[in-house]
Amino acid sequence: MEFAFTEEQEMIRDTAASFLAEVSTSEAIRAVMATERGYDSELWNRICTEMYWQAIHVPEQFGGMGLGYVEVVATMEQMGRYLLCSPYFATVCLAANTLLLGGSDAQKTAWLRPMCDSALSAAVAFNGGVSDWSAKAVTATWQREGGDYVLNGEYRYVVDGHSAQLLIVAARELGSVGEAGISLFLLPAETAGVFRRWLPTMDQARKQAAVTLNDVRLAPSELLGEAGKGWQVLAKVLDLAAIALAAEQVGGCQQVLDRTVEYTSERVQFNRTIASFQAVKHKAADMMLQTEVARSAIYYAACVAQDALEGGMMAKELAEAASIAKSYCSDAYFAVAGDALQLFGGVGFTWEYDVHLYFKRAKSSEHLLGNGAFHRERLAKTLLD
């Protein structure tokens, strides 16, 4: 048992941190968050060609580095810390994981390679606009017509869906309910019948889209995995993505905590720094507690995720580890970011200071892929029913 980063993992984390400190500055974030695309293509290219983050856990045979999910989580933590605006989460944590878990070798070769080699961006659309992130979220439909699949429906909360080059969509067989009948499809974003619309969001640093499928006709070769068995794949993908998102939340916790300690140590009132007030220290202590506990949750979940991707024994723990991490980190990040805003006082309420960027990210990440209550109810089912 060695529940700590290896030296190599520490190096990956530290390299990510110093790179991001340089490129994902407040000015850089603000410049791209005002755009519809929401990220800087040049920077994304640099990440894909110099840092190679998009390839971390993709096996070497498909053009990746063949490292593990622990490295993905370590990198996501730093992206959350520096609020990097990029299609990484949608492309890697959602789309690449779907291909890895559900794709045929031909599909993996066709799509993972360009992701690793040429900065292809991708998004996964599955939620038809419901707050229940279980299989009930899948409302779009498919039916067979001749040899083809014809898809119809609408999706919301599609992270980077308006800018992605490749879409993976989940749809259910017309008339099916629950986990049955769900299939996954791969389609280039320009496929006829696909309409995409940017949804302006409170958190401007991560873009969401609505996607509409209007009689989209797909050949069977574009089916990902077995027809009707898509949920088994998607459920695991959502668990893996939730773990990565939780890591991003931990990075955000750390950043707002650090900035809060820094600010309260400079701000003077009543002839003393406000950091010397016990009321402030105790709030900061609670912020650190939540940050560290959240970090312990994601490190464990990362190990489980890695084992699950390798087909190990811990795969059966994946859903629980994901729900534990996502529920704790969601609540922790929102609480920590809220406390930070409070301790920054008046300036925390301004557009000029960065606190609001993190406060807004905390809420958007909390609800994405299921909030604390959703994941606790998932745990309660296994404990109590």
Binding site: M1, E2, F3, A4, F5, T6, Q9, V70, L257, V261, T264, S265, T273, A275, S276, Q278, V280, K281, H282, A284, A285, D286, M288, L289, E292, V293, R295, S296, A297, Y299, Y300, A302, C303, V304, D307, M314, S323, I324, S327, Y328, A373, R376, E377, L379, A380, L383, L384, D385
Partner: protein, 399 residues
């Protein structure tokens, strides 16, 4: 990062589990899940016998070096031992203060003579220890001890006078380690000594404290020129604070993993109660149970991180270790509240008169101690802010 145990460690796990299964039988059956915090007053005599059986099997002081009678178990094996011990429902250890605190302190700071004199009795489970730290005027402000130690040249002994409080198991113990002021004019953490004192002597009076639960496991201990042999001071006079602080570090050891397994047993009881009375269908209770489950699981991961990591560069505790006491104590207190809310109005009804508490009622009341002793939640937050975040230290008062 990896989480699995080696095949060798898994065999060790089996060995521990098998031994417990074979030995926690017969008269010891009644001790299962008894004698933990809040239940220390139960079966003291039987648990003393159990301690010696455990020792005979070689299962006391498993983390100590071989030369002092330990098993020199790796951290992983110690984790496994404490987990299996708690999983089997083996009783609260009457010897835990000797094994967890006195022994490591003597090994780290004691003389060869002290090691020879005291370690074998701890390993054998025949000599029990209690802790003389807190005083009526020295709770959170531990350095404010008033108990004095004066060296009597004529008798060639230290004479200790003063009062200690919240001393658990004092009435069952053979020895007590005591911090007392060797320099009567000193203040705060200077001028203290760390003494190893025999309990059975005329100069010591033990008075049980009746607690919120109506039971007593903490005591007041009065010292009236209690004698302590000249060679039974650990370190030099004046070194007491250094030794005492070293000891507090030992408190956060691997036994925390066992503590969590005991918490798991309690949590399982709450889940069982919720399933039995239908509270498990209440959406609010479901959320709270799932939250307790989540936080208990992470408590384990956090402890694994603590045990896998090294100390910070300044030799201090890492951040995940600094938050640990505040985290588990707050969690445990919430579990008690959850237990009562699961039971609903039935939580009020006692097992019997005049004040016979059920296990869950006892849990609910006793966990109020957790956020107070060993550094209150407020003191913990000061420590976290000051040592973990580098925020300004609290000023000393002027009263």
């Amino acid at each position: 990062m990896k989480l699995s145990f080696s095949p060798e460690d898994e065999r060790f796990r089996e060995e521990v589990a098998d031994w417990l299964k074979d030995n926690l039988t017969g008269d010891f059956e009644q001790l299962k899940y008894r004698g933990g915090p809040g239940d220390e007053h139960m079966y003291p005599e039987e648990r003393k016998v159990w301690e010696r059986v455990l020792a005979a099997g070689g299962w006391t002081c498993v983390g100590w070096p071989m030369e002092y009678g330990g098993r020199a178990c790796s951290i992983e094996q110690q984790v496994i031992f404490f987990e299996e011990y708690a999983r089997a429902g083996a009783p609260g250890r009457v010897g835990h203060i000797g094994e967890g605190l006195t022994g490591p302190t003597i090994i780290a700071f004691g003389s060869e003579e002290q090691k020879k004199k005291y370690l074998p009795g701890i390993v054998a489970g025949t000599e029990l220890w209690c802790q003389g730290y807190s005083e009526p005027g020295a709770g959170s402000d531990l350095a404010n001890v008033k108990t004095k130690a004066r060296f009597d040249e004529a008798r060639g002994k230290w004479l200790i006078s003063g009062q200690k409080v919240w001393t658990s198991l004092a009435h069952e113990s053979d020895f007590c380690f005591v911090i007392a002021r060797t320099d009567p004019d000193s203040v705060a953490h200077k001028g203290l000594g760390f003494f190893l004192v025999k309990m059975h002597q005329p100069g010591i009076l033990v008075r049980p404290i009746e607690q919120i639960t109506g039971t007593s496991e903490f005591n007041e201990v009065f010292f009236d020129e209690a004698e302590c042999d000249a060679e039974d001071i650990v370190g030099a006079p004046g070194d007491g604070w250094k030794v005492a602080m070293g000891l507090l570090g030992f408190e956060r050891g691997v036994s925390t993993l066992g503590q969590q397994m005991a918490f798991q047993n309690e949590f399982d009881q709450v889940v069982l109660a919720a399933r039995e009375n239908g509270a498990a269908q209440d959406p609010v209770i479901r959320q709270r149970i799932a939250r307790a489950h989540t936080e208990l699981k992470i408590m384990r991961y956090n402890a694994m991180r603590m045990l896998s990591g090294q100390s910070g560069s300044d030799g201090g505790l890492q951040k995940e270790a600094l938050i640990y006491k505040l985290y588990w104590a707050s969690w445990h207190r919430s579990l008690g509240e959850l237990a009562m809310d699961v039971l609903g109005p039935e939580c009020e009804i006692l097992s019997d008169g005049p004040y016979e508490l059920s296990r869950l009622q006892s849990l609910y009341l006793f966990v109020r101690a957790d956020t107070i002793y060993g550094g209150t939640n407020q003191i913990q937050r000061n420590i976290i802010a000051e040592r973990g975040l580098g925020m300004p230290k609290e000023p000393r008062g002027t009263l």
